[in-house]
């Protein structure tokens, strides 16, 4: 089973790479590098703050877009090309096929997030080094202790281990979106339907926590409103739980226990959406 799934994952990966999806990385790199030149006009605190804001925000946008758009095309494309019939005519189960497809997307997303993270890390390191050099020259007349304090301030602004945790959460969120989109595409009639529905779920998912809060609040909300809120809270994923980079860039740390709990929630969503996708796909008329 693993061999067949891996083979399908490898083919899916190749297909997606041939779609030239990695061109977005050029845009990402231009955005980050271009911004870092523009941001050089700001104070170093402002510059690092905004570099992190923009880089992690862009990583989040690109990985989410890639997860939804890449996954939405997979099943319809195979059906249109009729390759799905050739694959399933061989001793490959539908579950293996689906898992292989999803594994290919996961691989693509992992590489995309790693590459974006690498670009960000390089730009951040280069800017930190440049600023350290400038500060050393400009503050050469200061007492050694004060100079070291100033340099350490620049170093600590450019170095934050929590950014790695933020990157990991972005990756898990993109996997979750891919699994969710795969589930939608198993019953969707077209790529457009899958994409639109996935984006709708994406937006609603970011409001799920608010719906849950209102649903469980003991106020005078009517029965129908409460029911609608309950449906949103129970059916849709809580995507705000994976939206931690906004606070990480401001210096908030993710304690290990919370980090692992967040990843566990993501793993739960991925498992359930994959299982539901497999169940629906198993009974789908091809």
């Amino acid at each position: 089973m693993i061999r067949r799934t891996t083979a399908i994952a490898a083919v899916t990966w190749t297909e997606l790479v041939r779609l030239k999806v990695f061109y977005f990385l050029v845009i990402f790199a231009l955005l980050i590098i271009g911004n870092s030149f523009f941001l050089a006009r700001f104070s170093f605190e402002e510059e690092f703050q905004m570099l992190k804001d923009i880089a992690l925000g862009a990583m989040s946008i690109f990985s989410s877009l890639l997860a939804i758009l890449a996954t939405a095309t997979l099943l319809p494309k195979d059906m249109e090309d009729r390759t799905i019939y050739t694959i399933l005519a061989k001793p490959v189960s539908r579950v293996e096929y689906l898992l292989g497809k999803l594994a290919g997307v996961f691989l693509l997303l992992t590489l995309a997030v790693l590459l974006m993270g690498a670009v960000f890390a390089v730009v951040l390191t280069l800017r930190t080094q440049t600023l350290l050099h400038q500060a050393s020259v400009e503050m050469a007349g200061l007492p050694a202790g004060e100079l070291q304090t100033a340099l350490e301030k620049i170093r600590s602004a450019g170095r934050d281990p929590n950014l790695l945790a933020g990157g990991a959460v972005i990756l898990v969120k993109s996997w979750l979106l891919a699994a969710m989109t795969m589930f939608i595409s198993t019953f969707a009639t077209s790529t457009i339907f899958t994409t639109i529905t996935a984006f709708a779920v994406y937006f609603i998912g970011h409001l799920q926590a608010t719906a849950r809060e209102y649903w469980q609040a003991a106020d005078g909300t009517g029965f129908f409103s409460k029911s609608a809120l309950a449906v949103v809270a129970l059916i849709f994923p809580d995507l705000q739980a994976f939206n931690l980079v906004d606070d990480i860039v401001t210096g908030a740390a993710i304690p290990p226990a919370i980090f692992w709990k967040t990843l566990a929630l993501g793993a739960g969503y991925i498992a359930v959406y994959t299982a539901l996708a497999a169940a629906v796909f198993h009974h789908k008329e091809l």
């Binding site: 849950r212 129970l234 809580d238 739980a241 906004d246 860039v249 359930v272 009974h283």
Partner: protein, 256 residues
């Protein structure tokens, strides 16, 4: 399995999973908030400030990105000396990223220093009274930014220290400045000089000279590193002012 039965099972599975994850998600949300994550409350007021599109983007997980672009816009407004527009943009940025000390700090600095001086020296306003009033209004706006920043980040020393500087330099409120510096000094990561700043300001606060003397004395007794010329000068001045008996006085060598 028939289609209807399949969908019944799928929807039931989603609902069961939803019910099962509910307590986990609630506890995770509480843990996130306790750790300072998921801290910003995006309200209707903010939507009116930043517009529908930016608000939708902020709701969709791109809060920090929207804040960064609005900050860049505010920087452009600064270059055009459009102070009112800048203040509005700062409101939006700090609303989007209330945990970012840099945004609160710089927003207050731009308002209380740059905008206020520009208003005071405004060549288009002939009335000295109106220029001074505008200057004071920008001081107030700057102070308001810092106060809200402190309310959102009670454990951070930086904004309290900035508040002390603002009260000292812009409001000549030495008692308030002393209290702000003292509050900053109590926060983790506060550098040692903040404690000295609190004592310096307290020495200029009418009626609290005795307290200032005790604090300066405690600082002096911490060791040689803390016996800075200003500490010694202030101790000597306060000893004179408070009529401290010669036998109880500190730092006699520096008095001459």
């Amino acid at each position: 399995m028939r289609r209807a039965a399949l969908w019944t099972v799928v929807i039931a599975a989603l609902l069961i999973f939803g019910a099962a994850r509910l307590p986990f998600e609630k506890s995770l949300e509480a843990a996130h908030r306790e750790a300072g994550l998921r801290s910003a409350a995006l309200n209707i007021e903010l939507r009116e400030q930043i517009g529908q599109l930016a608000y939708a983007a902020a709701l969709s997980g791109f809060r920090s990105l929207v804040a960064a672009f609005l900050w860049i816009e505010a920087h452009t407004a600064w270059e055009q000396t459009a102070w009112g527009r800048m203040a509005g943009l700062f409101q939006s940025v700090t609303g989007l990223q209330p945990r970012s000390l840099v945004y609160w700090d710089l927003a207050s600095w731009h308002m209380a220093w740059n905008a206020s001086i520009a208003a005071r020296d405004n060549p288009k306003e002939p009335s000295e009274f109106l220029r001074r009033r505008a200057e004071r209004e920008y001081h107030e706006i700057g102070r308001d930014f810092l106060q809200r920043g402190i309310d959102n980040n009670p454990d951070a020393y930086l904004l309290r220290e900035r508040m002390g500087i603002m009260l000292r330099d812009k409001f000549s409120d030495h008692c308030g400045a002393a209290d702000a510096f003292a509050a900053a000094a109590e926060r983790p990561e506060a550098p040692p000089y903040v404690k000295r700043l609190a004592a310096y300001e307290l020495s200029q606060c009418e009626g609290r000279e005795r307290e200032a003397y005790e604090r300066l004395r405690a600082i002096y007794l911490l060791g040689e590193d803390e016996r800075l010329p200003r500490v010694i000068t202030l101790i000597n001045e306060l000893e004179e002012k408070l009529d401290i008996p010669p036998s109880d006085r500190l730092a006699p060598a520096e008095r001459d």
